[in-house]
Symmetry: C2
Subunit: 235 residues, 2 copies
DNA sequence: TTCGTTTGTAGAACAGTGTTCGTAAACGAA
DNA sequence: TTCGTTTACGAACACTGTTCTACAAACGAA
């Protein structure tokens, strides 16, 4: 506090002014930690520590841990480009938004996990839902299928992103005891007697290193929206 | 121990034999608690308490909390009926399995939450995946799309079930401060300036009380599988 | 039957978690 | 300058999953 320093007239304290807390600063710190240390690396205490304060101080600006996660997601989802709805290209536009969301999750590991945990009550951010809904409606999709589809797509993207993050954690060494490792082991030594079909198709399950799998999901969802939407409108 | 009672010859101790711990007993206790008190109502300590022991004792039979969750899911997913694959009716059979999984989640609240958390590394149980894969392959779906589709369907069913559980918790009173309540409030007072499309379609988003929404999702996924699968095979 | 050795049982403790309470300091209006 | 409200924060509460360690029971060999 400069005022106090002036008052005392000596020993300009080395600690900088220490700007006051704010929701924005808390969200930024949490986002940074999520990006660097993953979702489990973030706690109210660690965020408080980064801001050089105690955990109780956060609760003035943030009502909850869930609330904080939601604010972080809100912030990060602002980075997704939302094109102006164009009825001619609505399917490609939906793909564009979905890819944008995936890119954001990838660039900020940890947020994918938060999104998956919140997706049933949050749908991956109001802003992106708004943008998607506008595109779908412009494309002629009826309101109810369009709304439900937004849910579905948000869930799908978050799940794919989270799965990717887990696999990357495994590859980043030291994951000898990770969750993914256990799954991989379980797949390697599948009891062929009990699960013959699965054992015979392990390769197909594990396949899809790159974006093929994600794009396949987009194909399924969009193709299904067209056919199911048509049936819904007709029946 | 009856032997000791005979040895002492008096005071047949009132505590029953207290059968030894086992993985099965632990899983059953955990499942029961998940059904009655929801996912957050279960902890290693609460399970241990129900078995009249301390938490450390569980770790002999169960390596992990995640492990326990997975065992619980394995157990509960055994209840799902898996029909003999029939190429003529494969789509209806997929629907049947999906409905069976949803019914199981509904009958055991708390397991849906566990499944959603584990679904990226677990796919909703090896047994159901095996059954689904067999049906799809019999139906003529290529291996890779079939395998990926199993992932997708497992994710979808778990998410729908979890969402339903949250809404039921809200209706079961005392949920004044629940997560869903906050979402509902947020939807009620949507800033129409920032989210005009969303505000105009709140009804459509909230719609789908019964199974309509779930069945719509099935329509989308199955319809999309057919069209995308065709494209995948062709291109 | 006695003696190790293995196995299952738990109490206590560790290192964390989210959250609340009460108090102390800072700030803007009167 | 005083008052009232807002912000800050150390301490503490009630938990969590997990590990350490001592202890007792069970079992196979002598």
């Amino acid at each position: 506090m400069p005022r106090r320093a002036r008052r005392l007239g000596l020993e300009p304290d080395p600690t900088p002014p220490k700007q006051p807390l704010s929701t924005q600063r808390i969200v930024s710190a949490a986002l940074e930690q999520m990006r660097d240390k993953g979702y489990e690396g973030v706690s109210m205490r660690s965020v408080a520590r980064a801001l050089d304060t105690g955990p109780a101080s956060l609760y003035v600006h943030v009502s909850n841990r869930d609330d904080l996660d939601q604010l972080v997601l809100d912030q990060v989802m602002r980075l997704v480009d939302l094109p102006e709805p164009d009825a001619e290209r609505w399917q490609e536009q939906v793909r564009h938004v979905a890819r944008g969301m995936l890119a954001v999750y990838r660039a900020h590991p940890g947020t994918a996990r938060a999104a998956l945990a919140l997706v049933p009550v949050y749908e991956g951010g109001l802003r992106t839902t708004e943008g998607l809904l506008a595109i779908l409606l412009q494309g002629g999709v009826p309101a109810r299928p369009a709304a439900w589809f937004c849910d579905l797509l948000g869930l799908y993207v978050a799940a794919v992103a989270y799965e990717e993050v887990l696999w990357e954690q495994r590859e980043d060494g030291e994951g000898e005891e990770s969750v993914v490792r256990r799954v991989a082991d379980a797949f390697d030594q599948l009891p062929a007697g009990r699960y013959p079909v699965l054992a015979a198709n392990v390769a197909a399950m594990a396949a899809g290193e790159g974006d093929d799998r994600f794009e396949f999901g987009l194909d399924v969802l969009l193709g299904g929206l067209v056919t199911a939407g048509a049936r819904h409108a007709a029946g």
